[in-house]
Symmetry: C2
Subunit: 251 residues, 2 copies
Amino acid sequence: MAESVKTIRDTDDEARLLARRLVRGARYAAIGVLEPGTGFPFTSRVLTGTDTDGSPVILISALSAHTTALTADPRASLLFGEPGKGDPLAHPRITLRTRALRIAREDERHGQLRERFIRRHPKAALYADFPDFAFFRMVPESASLNGGFGKAYALEAGDLIIRSPAIAGLAAMETGAIEHMNTDHSEAADAYAQAYARSKRTGWTICGIDCAGLDLLNGDELIRIEFDAPLHDSAQLRAKLVEMSRFASQK
Amino acid sequence: MAESVKTIRDTDDEARLLARRLVRGARYAAIGVLEPGTGFPFTSRVLTGTDTDGSPVILISALSAHTTALTADPRASLLFGEPGKGDPLAHPRITLRTRALRIAREDERHGQLRERFIRRHPKAALYADFPDFAFFRMVPESASLNGGFGKAYALEAGDLIIRSPAIAGLAAMETGAIEHMNTDHSEAADAYAQAYARSKRTGWTICGIDCAGLDLLNGDELIRIEFDAPLHDSAQLRAKLVEMSRFASQK
């Protein structure tokens, strides 16, 4: 084991998929910031969502220690991946090195980011519009993935950021597409959760759609389903969802 | 809520008890360190135990990023307290600002720290003696406790460190006392877990005893029971355990 810890494995598609699922399927993370004054690396907990390009998004109060810190120095890390049963170190986790970018309320992206975040964290609607709260995009620079003992990988920003000419187009239709799916095809989310994530629960709804995949929500539980490859045209979404439903019905 | 986030409440005994339980009852934490080279606050996951004075203890590999970082700069934070069901921000957590102190294998405290850590993390016995692994005591300087929305407290080192003239004496008899209890009074741990932490499970064992309380282990689950006040003489331990058993039998 000592030997293997040293070895950084070559990043392959399996590692990339695991990394993306950990980040995009998370509800919260441990954030590390540089505390002004003391210089301590200060770690605390934040709710997380993602922007449509895969960058993590957080919603924090100007009165909190992390906002003060990020305003002074935008460097931050985010640790995703929670231990379940058994050895906490056997569970995969990933640390992203990011730079925090405040999204002003006047920013044209603000409304869409806000909707997407609140669909993922319905209770955040209670305080998201308080004047001291703000969204930050956490732009990834690199990451360290630990898939369990001896499974260490170094990832680049490109492994985590979604690249597609369809990002803006799909973002513009995201809310409408989700409402349509959850209303007119409400059985689809359960079928996806079952087929793609072996969920035995019912009651799933879609809470996010981007070029690289779907986010499904069910109370406290979130499932990230990654498409085989990112959509390159927002018009492909319908066919993709139909194809997934067909796959799910054959399972 | 915006208002209340700003307010740091006065630290009272209830906050101190919560803080101690979060730290002393943890199996793992998110550690924040200063990454050499990049200067990023880097957050990752570590197994944690405690020294008999309440300081957190971690066991990490020299090949890991955190050991390199802590050797260059001993400042680190530790985030304890895991979200359970419901809103992740409604669950209490605490961040300790600490300085990391490497415990050399030749250190007279090493053997006892090692035994205590391995009782808490039996699987760590597989690698604790690898030449690249080392224990670090994480000496607390201060802490930020968040007991849930609007319940923020600033704690000092003195709120987290156990002060008693009996620490060394009790540490010297810890292993023997635990073996005696788990062998000759094996029903006691279940009774304590039931009476003091409302556990419905059986199969508990004692994995740690210090002047301020007991640690109970049951597979993945850990319970910290704090005494009303720290023992000031190691000879008080027996009476304290008997008193607790009596209390438990009356519940």
